[in-house]
Symmetry: C2
Subunit: 113 residues, 2 copies
Amino acid sequence: MKAQALHGHLDALLLAVLEQGPRHGYAIIEALRARSGGTLDLPTGTIYPALRRLERAGLVASTWSTVNGRERRTYELTEAGGRALVGERAGWREFSATVGRFLGADEPPTAPA
Amino acid sequence: MKAQALHGHLDALLLAVLEQGPRHGYAIIEALRARSGGTLDLPTGTIYPALRRLERAGLVASTWSTVNGRERRTYELTEAGGRALVGERAGWREFSATVGRFLGADEPPTAPA
DNA sequence: GATCGACAAGTAGCGTTGCTACGCATGAAG
DNA sequence: CTTCATGCGTAGCAACGCTACTTGTCGATC
């Protein structure tokens, strides 16, 4: 799927993934791919900058852990992030309802008798 | 609502509006505002360039009409535009289903009697 | 008569955002 | 030793919608 359509919703997705528990970048990518049934296969160049954006915004926090000599930066949701997620969810609902009204998400605008 | 979240879906909305019949730019804006319950209030600077984009892509066609001395460019859906709209609808469904899976979802789509 | 607001179309420039392509490092497998 | 998977990161690009502005007619108001 055209991932660029995510525009503006990626942050919400990341927060939603982190809501289930702390994860490091790579794991987040895999979680997105798994939970979306392979539809969302985002490159690292998309995820990492996005995570740093979220961290700068205070919505996630990161801690370094060295596992087997490999540096892993684990991100977790902050309180502000949790609150933001609530808002994002509401925003998504409104958005999808609005667009759905035009694109006939499930109810095509074919005039009922 | 944050209209910038439209990213990539605006074209589909415009096609959907024109599906109901030819309209000129201004009328399209009003149709969007009306059908969305005021949620979508897009500025002309968003609509006009988008329409020209669609025309360049051959998805809509325009004709000038002078009404009361006022120039109105009326757009209508082309065949290609109609076909594109079908694809956009499918794309929207996949997109909204995928994101909905993460953002918790108001999932009314499966409403089998 | 002049001005203001609604209608109607358009352009220029900007900022956000995700993508592509690349670089760097470690451990395991061949 | 080379290659691959894991893991993090940056630089530059392109797409898209927004803000702000311009042009022009018409009707109403001052």
